[in-house]
């Protein structure tokens, strides 16, 4: 995870030329290239990868986005779009020969239609700002990534972000209706509709999660949902993660889709409890948080059933939130899991595989073995309802060799996720970080198709090149360096 990309030097002549072309229609202050001005854009949330961009452009309107992209298309300059830069896979990592296009200034909420329950917003609007603006009408925007105070809706669409409530309410792709997006040629696409579907191919789905590779999003129409009448959370502790895992299966088997269903292992629980004092027991193998929401009647009934199922599954302690402030306190712990782990270790590396839930105990056992193998600790936070596992590997970048060991550890977790029938990324995206492991998850024909889809939008490969989909050449290199991986490794696995 060290700066794996060789930081490339800037061609100053090219820099002046591109900046001048942009300044022809943009204010001087919105086109930056002095080192101290562009330094803040050198990385996103995956800070081990850094690169100074050649030029940073702060767009203030859709029309400007169109002109910026036209200029870049003409001059064949690569472009990396950026929202808030909270991405965890290096998706917004700039290019030394490219323009970093920030959408952060496009932060207006254009319309809230309370009757139709939709909001039309610019891409730089923060996730939480949408729910705040909708709150007076009893409505909210459902996907709630833990970074929701900071991350933008444009970034959410580009990553298909999820949150702790997505088992019941879906991911970004399930909660948006319409996009305006600009192609690298500067052409405006109107994707989706004000209805629940649109004519033609589902371009909305292809754009969602496309990591800034296909077009730049300039407007998003999201669905708003009525705020549930009430919510309650059941916290249950287990002396064995296997039992916690079967509690999850039992809840689902009983026909319950909880509003949230989260698990933390002992390391995560302890770190969190010391940090925010959420009231979690610390002498347990793991805890589950299970939220019910809906009408008073629905919640009362569901909580009763969940309690019984937890008990039946062997919980050693069960607590039900009695007030809303207690409910928020239980959640505060889970939501602070990353910073809590950040407090007990100089650095941590967040993984993002999704696995079939039934393989959880096996995966956690294997991760514990890897902790011993690499001499590094790992805390596990799990969106248990949908199988999205976030192992957080603790390391110290200042200790020689730890970074490399962490990266190797992480790589083994990615391969493990694929091996048990899952995926290398559930919600953080491939970005630059996991691009090599795409070679393990997909075969040549599929990677070729991804490249062809990209070419259908972006003929010259100018939007966020080098991210998300590896070139076949890169896969060959990776296969050579990394002999024990490669696609021959698990020939018998359904790679579906």
């Amino acid at each position: 995870m060290s700066t794996v990309i060789e930081a490339s030097a800037i061609d100053f002549e090219r820099q002046r030329e591109v900046a001048a072309a942009l300044r022809a229609f943009m204010p001087e202050s919105s086109v930056m290239f002095e080192r101290e001005d562009v330094q803040p854009y050198e990385c996103d949330g995956l800070s081990a990868y850094r690169q100074i961009p050649m030029v940073v452009a702060l767009a203030e309107s859709e029309a400007q986005v169109q002109r910026i992209l036209k200029v870049c298309h003409e001059k064949r300059v690569p472009v990396v779009a950026r929202g808030a830069g909270t991405g965890l896979s290096g998706g917004a990592l700039p290019l030394g020969n490219g323009v970093l296009l920030s959408l952060a200034k496009l932060m207006r909420i254009l319309e809230i239609d309370t009757e139709a329950r939709t909001a039309r917003v610019q891409p730089g609007v923060r996730n939480l700002a949408i729910s705040e603006a909708a709150a007076p009408y009893g409505l909210y925007y459902a996907p709630d990534p833990s970074s929701q105070i900071a991350c933008t809706i444009g970034g959410n669409v580009a990553e298909n972000s999820g949150g702790v409530h997505c088992l019941k309410y879906g991911l970004t792709v399930h909660n948006i209706l319409k996009l305006r997006a600009v192609t690298i040629e500067g052409e405006l696409l109107e994707i989706g509709s004000d209805g629940l579907d649109a004519a033609g191919y589902d371009v909305l789905a292809v754009m969602t999660g496309s990591e800034g590779m296909l077009a730049v999003i300039t407007e998003v129409t999201v669905k708003l949902l009525p705020k549930p009448e009430c919510a309650q959370v059941v916290m249950a502790a287990f002396d064995d993660v296997e039992k916690a895992g079967s509690a999850v299966a039992n809840i689902i088997a009983a026909g319950i889709i909880p509003a949230g269903l989260e698990m933390m292992d002992q390391a995560a629980t302890v770190a969190v409890e010391h940090f925010v004092h959420a009231g979690y027991p610390t002498d347990v193998a793991g805890i589950l948080l299970c939220e019910s929401d809906g009408t008073q009647e629905e919640v009362a009934e569901e909580v009763r059933r969940v309690e019984a199922l937890m008990e039946h599954s062997g919980a050693t302690l069960i607590r039900v939130s009695q007030t809303d402030s207690e409910r928020l306190k239980f959640w505060a712990g889970r939501k602070a899991a990353f910073p809590a782990v950040g407090r007990i270790s100089p650095d941590y590396y967040c993984m993002d595989g999704t696995i079939p839930r039934k393989r959880l105990a096996e995966v956690l056992r294997r991760i514990a073995e890897l902790e011993r193998k690499y001499g590094l600790r790992c805390a596990n936070v799990f969106h248990a309802g949908d199988g999205n596992l976030h192992p957080l590997i603790l390391y110290d970048a200042n200790e020689p060799g730890e970074l490399e060991r962490t990266e190797a550890f992480g790589g083994e977790i990615l391969e493990l996720s694929i091996k048990v029938g899952g995926t290398i990324t559930g919600e953080h995206g491939v970005g630059i970080e996991k691009v090599n492991h795409m070679c393990v998850q997909f075969r040549t024909a599929e990677l070729e198709l991804f490249h062809a889809v990209k070419r259908a939008f972006d003929e010259y490969g100018l939007l966020n090149p080098g991210k998300a989909v590896p070139t076949l050449h890169r896969c060959a290199e990776f296969g050579r360096k990394h002999v024990h991986v490669g696609q021959e490794r698990f020939p018998d696995l359904p790679r579906f």
Partner: protein
């Protein structure tokens, strides 16, 4: 395997036809490509009426059938494209689960592949998600006969572009679906249907108003001056909502929603010109000649009308939506809403990516490809 044997297999409607391998299907596609011979992908044929012209030799998917994997506690079911949708639903019902999008069948022989390729969803769609919302992964053959897998059998997956969902509603123009993995949802513990009399304007307002409140509503339909509302969930929650909403309880709600789903109400007739208009849910009653049936809180309007296609399409466009000529003898106006130039260009390029020689379901979606 020859084209003929594919066609012949289509006659074994009631028994599971002899199964073919992926390789055999791939070979058929490769041969057809070499000869530039169009292929028409077909499951149960229940949606032959839907979409543009039917060209080419039939590529029968019923010979690739069966549930591959079903794990109720993982909330995932994977089945081959030729599996009858009824078979899938029966297997899921046994485990207390269902396909949340309430797929329209339009006939007994309807297959999973056909449902997904047509991308149509039933009454529960605004509440539990559409066909595309619930698709998790696909295995498919593209127009070159390459065997490809996208997505997976897990709930969350953002590795690579979302090709699985792109396949939904693409009318078989991008590839032949082989396997589809879908998210499963629990069947609600109890369900009841209410009915009340309202004017169309009132009904639209009520449906949107209710949708903005935390109520356990899972379907709405307005037909012949009556608004039908389905409530689902835990028994006490359904009872409480009944009290709040008022109206009469319908005796056989389940049969009613099945009739809505499969177009068996009197409103639907085989010889009508039927438009499907998808638009902003709060749009006022459409000032178009003919009769209308509303679903999806007002976001879906079925229109039985002889009005000019251009008049209907302009109205849909103005209201932020699109109009499909769903059922008609004369489809010269085009079945699907015309695309703007930028989107059309993108569609052509996408089609070229998946099916470079344009052999799959040519013209079934747009006459341009």
């Amino acid at each position: 395997m020859s084209f003929v044997s594919f066609v012949v297999n289509a006659f074994y409607l009631n028994q599971k036809p002899v199964q073919h391998t992926v390789d055999q299907f791939a070979q058929v596609i490769r041969k057809a490509r070499a000869r530039k011979q169009p292929l028409r992908i077909r499951g149960g044929g229940t949606k032959d009426f839907y979409g543009g012209e039917l060209t080419g030799d039939v590529l029968d998917t019923k010979t690739y059938s069966g549930i591959v994997e079903y794990e109720p506690t993982e909330l995932v079911i994977t089945a081959r494209a030729g599996t009858p949708i009824a078979e899938i639903e029966a297997a899921m019902r046994e485990r207390g689960q269902m396909l949340g999008f309430e797929p329209p069948h339009f006939g007994d022989s309807s297959t999973l592949g056909g449902c997904i390729a047509a991308g149509l969803s039933g009454p529960r769609r605004p509440h539990a998600g559409s066909a595309r919302d619930l698709v998790l992964g696909v295995r498919m053959l593209d127009g070159k006969g390459s065997d490809l897998r996208f997505g997976g059998q897990v709930m969350k997956n953002v590795a690579g572009y979302d090709v699985s969902r792109l396949m939904v509603g693409s009318m078989g123009t991008l590839g032949m679906l082989l396997e589809v993995s879908m998210k499963a949802l629990p069947i609600p513990a109890s369900e009841t249907t209410l009915c009340r009399e309202n004017s169309p304007g009132e009904a639209i307002e009520l449906m949107n108003d209710f949708a903005g409140k935390p109520l356990p509503i899972t379907a709405t339909c307005y037909v012949e001056n009556r608004l039908y509302i389905r409530l689902s969930g835990a028994e006490p929650a359904v009872r409480a909502a009944l009290g709040k909403l008022g109206g009469e309880e319908v005796r056989d709600g389940r049969a009613f929603w099945k009739q809505v789903r499969d177009h068996q109400l009197d409103f639907f007739r085989a010889d009508q010109v039927l438009w499907r208009i998808s638009l902003k849910s709060t749009s006022p009653p459409l000032p178009l000649p003919g009769t209308q049936l509303l679903e999806w809180n007002g976001a879906l309007r079925w229109l039985d009308s002889d009005a000019e296609a251009s008049v209907i399409r302009d109205a849909a466009t103005r209201l932020g939506g699109h109009a499909t000529l769903f059922r008609a003898r004369n489809k010269s106006a085009g079945v699907f809403h015309p695309l703007g130039p930028a989107l059309l260009k993108l569609h052509r390029r996408l089609k070229g990516t998946f099916d470079p020689d344009g052999i799959l379901n040519r013209g079934r979606m747009y006459s341009e490809f």
